[in-house]
């Protein structure tokens, strides 16, 4: 049974800039979440999600050994950090924006992914909140 949820349920993200290109790494919360992410996240979906914010192409690069899906968004920062009028000049929030996309996830994959933060706090401790 699949559920429609935000990508944030199964993935972390970190993004940044290279000129006018935004680079965003999606970091799967579990091995099965990685497989789901690779199936569910497509360049077309990401492009549609950003609308006119991303003018160029979207490329995806699977990184199975570290279970990350790397996203490259071209002409995506309004001209690059020094020229753009955006508040987020270097696209630091764009990775988080990708995590708002909706994906279809098997219920047990979702349950396992949702336990990731608990496992992280158990292993490394919880320092805030």
């Amino acid at each position: 049974m699949k559920k429609r949820v935000r990508l944030e349920e199964i993935s972390f993200a970190r993004s940044g800039d290279k000129g006018d290109i935004c680079s965003a790494g999606l970091i799967a919360k579990t091995s099965r979440a990685y497989k789901t992410m690779v199936d569910e996240v497509t360049p077309e979906k990401i492009k549609r999600h950003f609308g006119s914010m991303v003018k160029g192409s979207v490329e995806l690069y699977p990184m199975p050994r570290v279970e990350c899906l790397h996203v490259v968004l071209r002409n995506a920062l309004g001209g690059g950090a020094t020229k753009t009028l955006r508040y987020d000049q270097t696209g630091k929030a764009m990775g988080q924006a990708i995590l708002r996309m909706e994906v279809e996830v098997e219920e047990d994959v979702l349950t396992e992914a949702r336990q990731t933060m608990e496992r992280i706090y158990h292993k490394y401790g919880k320092a805030w909140g």
């Binding site: 970190r14 290279k18 970091i27 050994r65 990350c68 508040y87 987020d88 630091k92 929030a93 919880k126």
Partner: protein
């Protein structure tokens, strides 16, 4: 386990011009490191420093090099830790003169300062290497290649790829030790965050750790976060010293705050080098004003409309104008809906890019008018003056066109 395999411990002391000094000093004092690298240059910093040097030939380096070296040289000299920095910027020789003055005042007789090219300077026994625009990554690849006596021939390609990979992971210092993290709630004491130490082994494996009793967190997640940071094609992470394939890399936690990086594969160094050309490209004027409950968002929307009308009336000549609602869609942009909620407060941010300072400055003036003509309770702080825009034109040139030069100075 590793027997007598040679290893070298390299620390990352700075992620950008403006980073914290204390963790770098702590790294030298407590990290038992052989080298520390300092990255102070972003893509466009050189363009800015070149203009500084054009105005004053005795300037053009990163001014922070002076307080930084005053704090770093004493523990580094005492511990035998060599220092590699790109803070020379557009004027490494002058930066070296300043560093020599500092070293002389501190009584560090015999200290050798190498200027410009990292690896050759190390071969000549430099204690401090001051470079300009070398790649951030080279700060960490150079000491490893020198200590292990690697060259650019085929047998060392994968090993250099390992050094490039680890250099990439640590070069933003706190970027891999829990800074900017998704798991921020698990990161302890970020106010005294530890900067990373990479322990390189001759077989190409590395262990990333940090100094004891520092804040921050190193684990598989924080290392993955930085592995994917500011990367284009991860199969071909192209650096002047080689090409690393990040999809071949294996990460493994080796206990608390220790992660092993291994199995990196790579390709030979490219025939071309990247050149970043910066050029003056007008000014950006930017200001914001906040509106309180009730109807905070509607007040902000109406204020945006007022500014648009005013810009028409005064004939603003701008290349681009932008309106954001702070607290609503300022950083997530079009990916989020503008919900009609009972906000406590909403900010209106207006930004415009124009060719002249005067045009860009109209943003500041018009936001100021909103204070009195918009709606009740608005406040705007102190709008700052327009900033110059330097646009980037990156390109590639043949490697042969660049001749690295190197000068050694002694204190």
């Amino acid at each position: 386990m590793r027997g007598k395999m040679k290893k070298i411990r390299v620390g990352a002391g700075s992620a950008f011009w403006g980073d914290m000094l204390e963790p770098a000093v702590e790294l030298v004092e407590k990290g038992e490191i052989d080298y520390i690298g300092f990255d102070h240059l972003a893509e466009l910093t050189l363009s800015i420093l070149q203009r500084v040097r054009a105005k004053d030939p005795t300037k053009g380096y990163i001014p922070d090099i002076i307080p930084w070296m005053k704090a770093i040289l004493p523990p580094a000299w005492e511990k035998g830790c060599k220092v590699i920095t790109n803070a020379g910027g557009a004027n490494p020789e002058q930066a070296a003169e300043e560093v020599i003055k500092i070293a002389r005042d501190l009584g560090m007789k015999g200290m050798k300062i190498g200027v410009v090219t990292g690896i050759d300077a190390l071969k000549q026994g430099a204690h401090v290497v001051i470079a300009g625009r070398i790649s951030d990554n080279a700060l960490y690849v150079a000491p490893v290649m020198y200590e292990f006596d690697w060259d650019f021939t085929e047998p060392f390609v994968d090993k250099i790829a390992s050094a490039i990979t680890t250099g990439h992971i640590i070069e933003c210092a706190e970027g891999c030790t829990g800074g900017m993290s998704n798991i921020w709630q698990a990161v302890p004491e970020p106010w005294k965050i530890g900067f990373p130490i990479a322990e390189f082994y001759e077989n190409g494996e590395t262990i990333i750790s940090k100094a004891p009793d520092t804040g921050g967190l190193i684990c598989e997640w924080t290392i993955k976060e930085h592995l994917v940071y500011e990367v284009l094609d991860p199969r071909n992470y192209i650096m002047p010293d080689g090409v690393a394939d990040f999809t071949s890399v294996k990460l493994k936690e080796m206990g608390k705050n220790r992660v092993k990086v291994s199995q990196a594969k790579g390709k030979s160094r490219p025939d071309q080098l990247k050149v970043c050309i910066g050029f003056k490209d007008g000014f950006i004027g930017e200001a914001q004003i906040f509106f309180p409950w009730p109807d905070a968002l509607e007040k902000a929307k109406r204020a945006a409309n007022i500014v648009k009308e005013r810009f028409d009336m005064i004939n603003l000549e701008a290349e681009d104008v932008r309106f954001d609602f702070l607290g609503v869609n300022a950083i997530l942009g079009e990916t989020v809906p503008i919900k009609d909620l009972d906000y406590n407060e909403v900010g209106l941010r207006v930004a415009a890019r124009a060719q002249s300072f005067e045009e860009a400055n109209k943003v500041r003036r018009e936001i100021t008018h909103l204070w009195t003509i918009s709606s009740v309770g608005a406040h705007m702080g102190v709008p700052s003056k327009p900033r110059p825009v330097i646009s980037l034109w990156p390109t590639l040139i043949p490697r042969d066109e660049v001749t690295p030069e190197f000068v050694m100075k002694e204190v």
